[in-house]
């Protein structure tokens, strides 16, 4: 950011093209294209057509105001499709219950890394007809992380703030919300499939914008990264919400365990009421959603025969 090229130290280095990113970009693109082709062969669906089917509200210069970039999302969808169909072999139930217009998809959160959001998103993109492009609300601290803060908006993820959610719902978009937030995702193994406290914000938002809420139960996420403890001092040091201790890491297994995912989409709730009501009144409605998801989770757990099959 110095003025002019000549006084910047080592300005001549760029002639060596060490920092020139175009060959890197080209390499990345060719790898990405290969992944997309592989995924299309495996999944048997035209992923580019699915991406092209997304309706977003572009601004005057042809960009999504929240930073969604179809070019990057193509690769992400290819990876997600491979995870969805092959790695986690996801079974999806009741996806046609999701309304076509604005909708809040409320799910239980689990598994240390937000792969449950990826699975719900890829189910909406690959299994729903016509494809829906859901945006999920991510923790605000992710905006401080380099690379992640670039990647998330390009994939259509949005920082979790009420203003953002309101704006998107007014544009008739679908939002994935995990009202448990970081509390839910960093649960230890002994608390698996027990929903923690739900925030109230999503309900106020639904009441304010008249948005239906679709409850979703995610089964299989809790076993992908079993965590035995939360190492709090290190979490504080790294400014993370939690630092899970995952035994599989000691065996060098960085990838999640290939559990079988099951997604249950419930009947949409349509709540009516005052969005600025007392917490107690809102809590009743939230409790209804939470207990529905919990019972869907319990039913799903009863129905499954094993974690990996």
């Amino acid at each position: 950011m110095a003025q002019g090229g000549s006084i910047v130290p080592f300005a001549g280095w760029r002639r060596l093209r060490l920092l020139g990113e175009s060959p890197v970009r080209q390499a990345l693109r060719s790898v990405g294209d290969r992944v997309v082709r592989l995924a299309e062969d495996v999944v048997g669906q035209d992923l580019d057509a699915r991406i092209a089917g997304i309706r977003t509200h572009l601004n005057e210069v042809g960009h999504d105001p929240f930073g969604f970039d179809p070019e990057t999302s193509r690769y992400a969808l290819a990876v997600a499709a491979l995870l969805h169909r092959r790695y986690f072999r996801t079974q999806v139930f009741g996806i046609n219950r999701v309304p076509q217009d604005r909708v809040l998809i409320v799910a239980n959160h689990s598994g240390q890394l937000p792969l449950d959001a990826v699975m719900i998103g890829s189910a909406m993109m690959l299994d729903a007809d016509p494809p829906r492009f859901p945006r999920s609300m991510v923790e605000t601290w992710t905006a401080e992380l380099p690379f992640i803060s670039t990647l998330y908006p390009r994939l259509g993820q949005v920082l979790g703030s009420p203003e953002n959610a309101r704006r998107l719902l007014r544009q008739e978009e679908s939002l994935i919300v995990f009202p448990e937030g970081a509390r839910g995702i960093s649960k230890t193994y002994d608390q698996r499939y027990q929903l923690t406290d739900f925030g109230l914000g999503f309900m106020r938002l639904a009441l304010e914008t008249g948005t239906p809420i679709v409850p979703v139960a995610v089964i299989g996420g809790e076993e992908q990264y079993p965590s035995i403890a939360d190492f709090k001092p290190l979490a504080r040091l790294l400014k993370m919400p939690a630092f899970p201790v995952m035994p599989q890491m000691f065996f060098g297994m960085i990838a999640p365990l290939p559990t079988k995912y099951r997604l249950y989409f419930g009947e949409p709730f349509r709540f009516k009421g005052d969005p600025d009501d007392d917490d107690s009144a809102i809590e009743e409605k939230v409790w209804l959603v939470k207990s529905t998801i919990q019972s869907m989770v319990n039913r799903g757990l009863r129905e499954r025969k094993g974690v990996f099959i």
Binding site: V8, V61, P65, T140, S149, T150, L159, E163, N164, R167
Partner: protein, 374 residues
């Protein structure tokens, strides 16, 4: 206290009482002023109708009563504004700098706004509006200088305005007063808290200036106060945002690529003109032709981003700042990391503002200066 005759003359009520009887043969601006209540009537339509040949011959006589006082008139934006304004209004410019190439019908006072002379400018003539552009942004100046210029001078200006009951104040603040924060919503509305000084002390007086204008809004309901908060103003102006986009290899913080808004300087001038219409008051965010990721903007402007990790960029920029090789304070790196974008729906509905310059035009104007310099 001013003597009774002068102060009475300046009362808006007295002037408004005269308005219906006024016969206006030229009838250029005042007709517009009369009908412009709702903000729906575009200004151009009225301007074109009565006088088809304003380009040749004598310039039409200023038709309005009362002059528009523009502070900081010798800045790029001030010059652009008065060149538009002096066609329809009497314009009085105030700046410490000389205004050499000014249009002949503009009265320019080369004074320091903190001086007593400022009061004489108000006392001597009928001022119908004040546009405050005289804000010192130079990060190299000391805090004390900036405070005395931005705050003390502005307070004095507000005092005179209250004393002489000027009916209109337009203050150019900026979206920077919201500050780039990691937890900002994608679009900030006018109600968002002004946290610009939270991580960057240099913004403190600009936030305070905005606050002062807001408190003036409430304290003096007879004055229509308008605060404009445009996003990064670019064009052929020499400010941080334009200079940054002019670099061939601008530094981009590695791993961050926030969405960014730019607005053309002439669109801001147009917004100020709209804000000068009677009946308009309040705070308005001003946005340009659309938002784009920073990397796209740099490439579109003809540069190639130089990716530097954030801690390294901070240390390097601090050193360059100390050695006076760079004029960007390292705290401003936050602008390259986090979003600070505004929602201009209020300006569109209430002010009738619409950006006229496309993003290509905006970047072309930014670039043009680089080629001239080269």
């Amino acid at each position: 206290m001013p003597n009774p005759e002068t102060s009475d003359r300046h009362k808006p009520s007295a002037r408004r009482g005269r308005e219906p009887v006024r016969a206006r043969p030229s009838a250029r601006a005042p007709v517009a002023r009369g009908v412009f209540g709702d903000g729906a009537v575009p200004q151009k339509q009225v301007e074109q109708a009565p006088q088809p040949e304003p380009t040749t011959g004598k310039r039409p006589k200023p038709a309005t009563e009362g002059a528009v006082l523009v502070t900081g008139v010798c800045g790029r934006l001030g010059k652009l504004l008065v060149r538009e304004l002096h066609r329809t209004d009497r314009v009085v410019g105030v700046d410490r700098r000389p205004f050499a190439d000014r249009p002949k019908d503009i009265v320019h006072h080369q004074v320091d706004m903190r001086r007593k002379k400022m009061k004489d400018i108000f006392r001597g003539r009928d001022i119908r509006a004040v546009v405050h552009l005289g804000v010192l942004h130079d990060p190299r100046r000391s805090d004390r200088d900036r405070h005395s210029w931005n705050i003390v001078a502005f307070q004095k200006l507000l005092d005179y305005m209250a004393q002489y009951e000027v009916p209109k104040l337009v203050v150019l603040s900026g979206a920077n007063v919201y500050g780039p924060q990691a937890n900002n919503p994608q679009f900030l509305t006018e109600d968002a808290p002004l946290l610009g000084a939270q991580h960057f002390g240099g913004m403190r007086d600009l936030v305070e200036l905005d606050m002062l204008a807001q408190s003036f809004f409430w304290k003096h309901p007879n004055t229509e106060t308008v605060v404009l908060r445009p996003c990064h103003i670019v064009g052929r102006v020499h400010n941080a945002a334009s200079n940054y986009l002019r670099l061939e290899r601008p530094v981009q913080v590695m791993g961050f690529d926030p969405m960014m808004q730019l607005v053309h300087e002439k669109d801001v001038v147009h917004a100020i003109e709209l804000a000068l219409r009677p009946g308009v008051r309040g705070i308005f965010n001003i946005r340009g032709p659309g938002e784009m990721p920073l990397s796209h903007l740099i490439r579109k402007a003809g540069g190639r981003p130089r990716l530097v990790p954030s801690p390294l960029a901070k240390v390097a920029l601090d050193q360059l700042w100390k050695l006076r090789l760079s004029n960007f304070p390292s705290q401003e790196l936050d602008h390259l990391r986090y979003v600070c974008m505004v929602d201009d729906s209020r300006a569109r509905t209430e002010l009738g503002y619409e950006p006229a310059h496309s993003i290509d035009r905006v970047l072309r104007d930014v670039r043009r200066l680089r080629y001239q310099m080269a």
